[in-house]
Subunit: 564 residues, 2 copies
Amino acid sequence: MAEAYGAAEKVTTEMAAASLADPALEQSHGRVFIKTILNGAEEFVGRRVVVGGWVKTGREQGKGAFAFLELNDGSCLANLQVIVDAGVCSLAQLTPTGTSVLMEGELKKPPEGVKQSVELRVEKVLEVGLVDSAKYPLPKTRLTLEFLRDFVHFRARTNTISAVARIRNELAYATHTYFRENGFRYVHTPIITTSDCEGAGEMFQVTTLFSEAEKIEKELNQNPPPQESDIEAAKLIVKEKGESVSHLKSLKASKEKIVGAVSELTKAKESLAKLEERFNMKGGIPHKEGKIDFAHDFFGRQAFLTVSGQLQVETYACALGNVYTFGPTFRAEHSHTSRHLAEFWMVEPEIAFANLEDDMNYAESYVKFLCKWLLDHCLEDMEFMVKNVDKTAIERLKHVSLMPFERISYTKAVQLLENVTDKEFENKVEWGVDLASEHERYLTEVIFKKPVIVYNYPKGIKAFYMRQNDDGKTVAAMDVLVPKVGELIGGSQREERLDVLKQRILEMGLPLEPYDWYLDLRRFGTVKHCGFGLGFERMVLFATGLDNIRDVMPFPRYPGRADL
Amino acid sequence: MAEAYGAAEKVTTEMAAASLADPALEQSHGRVFIKTILNGAEEFVGRRVVVGGWVKTGREQGKGAFAFLELNDGSCLANLQVIVDAGVCSLAQLTPTGTSVLMEGELKKPPEGVKQSVELRVEKVLEVGLVDSAKYPLPKTRLTLEFLRDFVHFRARTNTISAVARIRNELAYATHTYFRENGFRYVHTPIITTSDCEGAGEMFQVTTLFSEAEKIEKELNQNPPPQESDIEAAKLIVKEKGESVSHLKSLKASKEKIVGAVSELTKAKESLAKLEERFNMKGGIPHKEGKIDFAHDFFGRQAFLTVSGQLQVETYACALGNVYTFGPTFRAEHSHTSRHLAEFWMVEPEIAFANLEDDMNYAESYVKFLCKWLLDHCLEDMEFMVKNVDKTAIERLKHVSLMPFERISYTKAVQLLENVTDKEFENKVEWGVDLASEHERYLTEVIFKKPVIVYNYPKGIKAFYMRQNDDGKTVAAMDVLVPKVGELIGGSQREERLDVLKQRILEMGLPLEPYDWYLDLRRFGTVKHCGFGLGFERMVLFATGLDNIRDVMPFPRYPGRADL
């Protein structure tokens, strides 16, 4: 480049130049990831590298002659051992937990008997970001997950939350890879919607009415709002101007004169309209006939945050065949449980020319794929979970990735649960009533000791879009239950018959009109199709063995809390 | 499986069984994608397959003895030619455009001189979804994109929109692949937020106040609302109960009696609180001191839809190093242009231990990667775009994937534009003023004829979080400008110095308190870091050559419109 970058820093550019000779070192444009070093320890011995990261622990040794640092850069769980001599840098600056350092040095083989395979002898400290230990909220290494929830902006620096982040990242990429390999296309369904998927879910409303009202209020504070007398006066002017036009017309006055008078009338009308608008806005939110008038809202009507992309993604399935959506969904429910969030991510495939059995086949193969992927790509973090969170986490992944899932009808599931004698359920089991979490977990954890798919549920407890079976009592729905979390996936074959679907909507007490576009898919070239939804955070809970969903979502939202 | 599936359909299961002997045919659990057939035409000749799709065009031939159908299943742009004899099925049912068909037959080599490499001789029609041509909204093959916007639930069945969907899908997967290969982790930043990234953007508010008010209104309709006299009466009871407690205490009455009286007092207080709540709710939205009281809203305060995940993803960059977010973002702006949506997707990487030059390097290599990916994975759809939308679409991708981007400072860009003599700009070019779209496009399309990165912008026109350069006048910001769309990427090095950042926030007239967590990242182990945002729909416009952003988003949202 001919031109200089002004004040832009040059440090990493120089690094990039220094490492150009060795492509293996070209990571993050100069900096080498600690993961890369530790994975290839043998071949890195003797090389000069630049590394950056945050100090996990630091201690001065040899009466202050040098310091050992455990450095982590988030590229993996393991830290790089670093040795800095007092001559290189002020050691007291480097040792506090949380300090960031970018440094250059030579990778060496540590003395025999040391567990590290390689360590960094620092020659130059390029950058330091200081920490005042007395004020740093995360000074200690062991903090409860609950405590960390008050510091979502720092908690990714802990072992547990950074491992969760890497596992989550792998599960997301595995999801895209699985569907791609199976001929699915990713479709972005809308977040803001005017449809309600369930006809029941508690939804968040999206609005600009409050900010609009605030703007008008400010404007009214600057310019005094009109009084009723102002309106009356303006009405009088309109009346006069109108009469003047009539008068001129009756006199057969010149066209010019009439046009002039009409123009004055128009102006008077506009001025009246403006006054009336400001007068009516005095109350803040616009009203009409005693109700809030959403015609003034951004989309000209009420709009909400989606509870599921299913209905919309069906339109793409009925054109592209195999599609899926993976995006945020929302529930405005006042749940304070460890299993619910107001904002969560959902994976929703939708498959044309497919029935309930295809649906179960896809669900099973997708879950198995995810489990196997973590074993292949994320073992270090999974081993951390085994050691610190859930002894059985890896075993569970192996088990699920290998064993065929059990498949039983809802009717059979109820029979099995009714015959249970070694446990008292809090909720009664009865045909026609939805299974409670305790029943689901008993089926998968105790009776079958593996994932169970329960299918053909009573229609009374399921959504209108699920395909009615010939028995008239059940619908082609299925839930995948897994140990540790219970329901992981819910899906169904969709009702493709126009008349049956209409009847189901009406049976549920819902109006037909909002679903007219959805019915159109059945009116024109309808196909048998099916789909399911996997709660992404549930999958992360299942994989990690963690108990609280607030710890597997980077920025959890729940009643009363939306930090950052 | 031992148990029968009740009413669940068996068709595709049988298909799956039929094709099990031949793994190459195992697509979508029985059905073979048309893409698979056409890609391997030679080897498919003579095989029996099941295909499903929608009829693009159908015509009876040989005096109704047979029909030709062009069948499309969305797996690729091309159709499969299908021949059905009148003996197999009612031909009149099959020929209308939009009809869905699932059918079984043998793939044959067509007669010499026919352009198709393979065609299907149908032996059995398994399923048909009828279309009444007179009522189908998309009967013709050529419809304007504008017309199609009124039928978002059907438009993916057209060539253009389905090609866009496949290109969009490839760009999304390419994005995840690029960042994965470069050591980035995907982080889900929040959609609902209490932070405002720009301190300026028009935001949508997320609320449950309207639905809560509606609930209370319903309840008040069923149970008459309290009158002021009811409140007074309830207050009197509280007073009496309070006096009774005091009286008992002064008499040193038994503990039992006092506890009883206190319990009655508590009940009276609760009852008063409930009455007061209902009384205050009469007006609908809860108010406090003349203002709407958002303490009653779901999150206990005002919450909005995110305009960018940047600030939040910085917290993960300052822990994991290289991260990115890819999610929906929102602007409540009343723009009716062809370049703006109220809801759109953004890709936002964030890189620790990196400066503005690193930022530009990543931006350039990412865009090149996307272009190359489309050429490698999506050529058929790109060729369609060249033929029907923009002759230069493929040429542009090749050009961008190969040529180094030009990099010039903002100051230089202004100089160049000031010296332009062959064109009159609508907006004046002047140092200190933001470049308009016409300037950006002139730079990339006319002056350099390739992508241009403009860096070091005047601080007065950029956000508070951008790193101030040593000249005191500019910040380390950069925009990537590309032919056809202008600004594709905006990014910057972030201000990592606590004192400078604080001063910038105050200079902008913003309060410090809401950014306290953001400042914390600079207080404790701060690092130089940078990042950028790519408007995903802009990238699709750039790739396809389409003009209107409403045609590259599956379900576009803009003022007055949020269909489905």
